[in-house]
């Protein structure tokens, strides 16, 4: 390392030490900044500062050797999300709520993806091929569609109507399903026909079907393998050390296999989580552990994700506001259309979308998962736009929700 790097490292250390009280003692932060600390944005910022966009502290070799951590963290996030989807609990909710939540997510996706594609095309000035821009636009749309449950949970302390609060919590739990399925589809298509494949190179329908079947087989095989292995191995006792080891081992095994085979670790482990949650009598115990380690895993994930980012600040500053605006409008429109189609007779507010702005770790995980697929060189820019807008949504989302949904309460 050069002297300059050491000086920057020292400066960073001083900043971290000085900021430690704020960064960890959240109660001392000014109110409007608290959501940033809660969402772990500081960890991403620290990663970006230490990575190639900042002081470039770590060598390429060290960064490479950290990559397995990122893969494992994505696997953990996917498995945890999958365990939420337990049929026994899900079927208790009315279909109208599912309809509204899923429609809201799809509307948001269909509004954000074309706008992002257009913005990328306009701002990159023809530097990338059309299909690359389209794929990047689709992925930005996918990352926009979901809502962070943690962000909604933080909103629940505000004075909203119980119907709005419950609807928001439910939407946040299910509206990541469409983006996850869309990402799975994108993955399968891009693995079968990588960007740049000449039209018609895929050949006949049989060849296409075979390729799709191969990737579906990987997806189902790995997901089912994880669910069954965890079910068989997860101990009956309450030794936290042993239980954590089994979970960590099974998730690493499958997430790593998925990554090495060119499939998304996030998706494979998510399916594993769904299977485990629906077949194991010990899911409660596993869920408790997953949640217990969630914060640490997210912190490591966000920090490492920040370390890997390498992008053009100019492009980022142009794209992020467009994406923020498109997503905001997409959420409002999605919430309204979902309400109009399914919840018109319920006490839920038609402006429920205003409470769905928070965009947490899952959106980042989807973006990073796409980035790890190595499909396009725009993936870094996509990830950094998602992360930047996540910060903005953490800051802007709560006051907006308070203004739109809280006001109704006062009336």
């Amino acid at each position: 390392m050069t002297t300059g790097t050491w000086l920057l490292l020292a400066a960073l250390a001083v900043l971290v030490l000085a900021g430690a009280k704020w960064g960890f003692g959240r109660q001392r932060l000014p109110g409007f900044l608290r959501p940033l600390a809660d969402s772990g944005a500081g960890f991403v910022a620290l990663g970006v500062l230490a990575g190639p966009q900042g002081v470039n502290l770590l060598t390429e070799e060290t960064l490479f050797k950290i990559t397995p951590l990122l893969v494992i963290a994505m696997g953990w996030i996917g498995f945890l999300y999958g365990t939420h989807l337990e049929w026994r609990l899900m079927r208790r909710y009315p279909r109208s709520l599912y309809g509204a939540g899923l429609l809201a997510a799809m509307v948001c996706f269909f509004m954000v993806a074309p706008v992002s594609w257009w913005a990328l095309d306009t701002f990159t000035g023809g530097a990338y091929a059309g299909p690359e821009l389209m794929v990047a636009g689709i992925v930005l749309g996918i990352c926009a569609a979901g809502t962070a449950p943690a962000g909604v949970f933080r909103l629940s302390s505000r004075r909203f109507k119980p119907a709005d609060r419950n609807a928001l919590q439910f939407f946040a739990a299910v509206d990541d399903i469409p983006p996850v399925l869309l990402l799975a589809g994108t993955y399968v298509l891009l693995q079968t026909f990588p960007i740049g494949t000449p039209p018609g190179a895929g050949g006949q329908v049989a060849a296409i079907g075979l390729a799709v079947a191969k990737w579906l087989l990987y997806f189902l095989g790995l997901g089912a393998g994880l669910g069954i292995i965890t079910h068989w191995l997860f101990p009956r006792g309450d030794d936290i050390r042993e239980n954590s080891l089994i979970l960590l081992g099974a998730i690493s095994l499958v997430a790593g296999s998925a990554m090495a085979l060119g499939f998304s670790p996030l998706l494979a482990t998510m399916l594993g989580g769904v299977i485990f949650a629906n077949m194991s009598p010990r899911k409660e115990s596993a869920y408790g552990l997953l949640v217990q380690h969630e914060h640490n895993l997210y912190a490591v994930f966000l920090l490492v994700a920040g370390l890997f980012l390498s992008f053009d600040w100019g492009l980022l500053l142009l794209l992020a506001p467009v994406y923020l605006l498109a997503r905001g409008l997409g959420k409002l429109a999605g919430g309204y259309l979902g309400w109009r189609a399914f919840l018109k007779d319920s006490p839920v507010s038609p402006f429920i979308g205003a409470g769905m702005m928070s965009q947490g770790g899952m959106a980042v995980a989807l973006a990073v998962s796409f980035r790890q697929g190595g499909f396009t060189s725009l993936a870094d820019l996509v990830t950094s736009v998602v992360i930047t807008v996540m910060f903005a949504n953490d800051l802007l989302g709560p006051p907006l929700a308070q203004r739109v949904l809280g006001r109704r309460k006062a009336q």
């Binding site: 060290t62 050797k65 990559t67």
Partner: protein, 444 residues
């Protein structure tokens, strides 16, 4: 039954995935992404298979880490890897990719080892600790030095070397033989919840001796250089670097410890993250300024335990997460054990390992007896000093790098072979020693 089914499912999934990975070559991904995925897969495999088979080894009355080492050796490049490449889940590239995580794991173990040294418990044993260190170091250096220099004719791998090369080798083998593995000692102590004078002496001696051995090794490298390149003269810079490495690492350890104590006192959140970050920073950043990350972490652990009321919280937090750390560290250590080297230098390795155990036993027994230690210390404490691992291998790599005239690969191969023998025997002997001393209480 479900465990056996689970183990079989893990093996099947891992082998199928590995075969597909070998066929696909990362499915057209960048080389790095495919390798990172393989490494994460191997890590999962290590955690599950080592842990489950380690449990089987425990039923035979052996320490779990022996099981982890055996799994690493079996699925490493030298045993099943020779049968078919798909069986080598822990091939060389994967082990190399996991080396950073392995170092961080070792860093956490070092922090924990330092934290196990409570001043109130160690102070009454100070005399014994110093006598044992002096006894071991003196006798090991004399015994191993004599064995290599006088018995060279018996070992084919030492045949044909010049007198000065042989002497340089004798000095380096002798000093390297003094090193121990605090990680192994701590793993066995924690597994059997051992408490008592033997436990305290073994832990304190292995930690303190690291400082002594690092200093001695640098002096030995200077002496070997003089023997191999007679015109090179006395190297003041090397001596200053040695002083910097030892004193600087201790000072850095105190600084790290102080920072952690302040953090624990004022904030106290996210302790596992703090431990991970501290270990990562120490093992990845300190070597860049010629400091030993492991030594600094041991000192930091010692400082935290003895200067903070929250020291126990930290050590407990590390212990809560210690199982995966030990499984990963010792399985990778097993996969790294070079069976080719062991085969090539078997007579020399057996002689050195046997001679070293004899000298360690004699040095410990005499040191403990002269210091007036309790009888179980002089009888059983030696068993905790047999294992060798990371530090010793680091010495061998350093010598190969800086002393190219040192008889080709003889030193590296010899050290690798001795470490293989000692690392397999060490945990088993120490477990037996703790049981005989009456300090082992059972598995945690």
């Amino acid at each position: 039954m479900s465990r056996i089914l689970g183990l079989l499912a893990v093996l099947a999934l891992a082998l199928l995935s590995h075969q597909a990975i070998l066929d696909n070559h990362g499915a057209g991904l960048g080389r790095n992404l495919g390798e990172a995925g393989s490494a994460a897969m191997a890590l999962g495999f290590v955690l599950l298979v080592s842990y489950l088979l380690g449990g089987g080894v425990r039923r035979l009355g052996l320490p779990s880490i022996t099981g982890y080492l055996l799994v690493g050796m079996t699925f490493g490049p030298y045993v099943l890897g020779r049968v078919h490449p798909v069986l080598a889940i822990l091939d060389r590239e994967t082990v190399d990719t996991l080396s950073l995580l392995d170092s961080v794991a070792l860093g956490m173990i070092a922090l924990s080892a330092g934290g196990e040294l409570k001043l109130a418990r160690v102070r009454p044993l100070a005399r014994t600790i110093s006598y044992v260190i002096v006894g071991q170091v003196l006798l090991t250096i004399l015994g191993i030095g004599a064995l290599v220099s006088l018995g060279a004719a018996w070992f084919p791998s030492l045949a044909g070397l010049s007198e000065s090369t042989l002497l340089a080798l004798a000095i380096l083998f002798a000093v390297t033989a003094c090193a121990n593995s605090p990680a192994t000692a701590l793993a066995v102590i924690q597994e059997y919840r051992a408490r008592g004078p033997v436990t305290d002496v073994v832990l304190a001696v292995t930690v303190v001796k690291d400082v002594v051995v690092i200093s001695l090794f640098t002096l030995a490298m200077g002496a070997a250089l003089l023997l191999l390149e007679p015109g090179s003269g006395f190297d003041l810079l090397r001596m200053l670097l040695l002083a910097w490495e030892v004193v600087g690492s201790i000072a850095m350890g105190v600084v790290l410890g102080w920072l952690v104590v302040q953090y624990l006192a004022r904030l106290g959140h996210e302790v596992p993250l703090l431990v991970l970050a501290t270990s990562f920073l120490a093992v990845s950043a300190l070597p860049a300024i010629h400091l030993s990350g492991l030594l600094a972490l041991m000192v930091a652990g010692f400082y935290i335990e003895n200067h903070s009321p929250h020291g126990d919280d930290l050590i407990r937090a590390i212990e809560r997460h210690s199982l995966p750390v030990y499984v990963v560290f010792f399985t990778i250590a097993g996969a790294s054990l070079n069976m080719d080297a062991l085969g090539a230098a078997l007579p020399l390795a057996l002689a050195l390992a046997g001679g070293r155990i004899a000298m360690v036993w004699l040095g410990t027994s005499l040191g403990a007896r002269f210091s007036g230690a309790p009888p179980q210390v002089s009888r059983h404490a030696w068993s905790g000093f047999v294992a060798q691992a990371g530090v010793t291998l680091g010495f061998a790599m350093l010598a190969r790098q800086r002393l190219p005239a040192l008889g080709g690969e003889v030193f590296l191969t010899g050290v690798l072979a001795v470490v293989a023998v000692n690392q397999v025997l060490g945990p088993v002997l120490f477990r037996a020693g703790l049981w005989l001393a009456g300090e082992a209480k059972g598995r945690k």
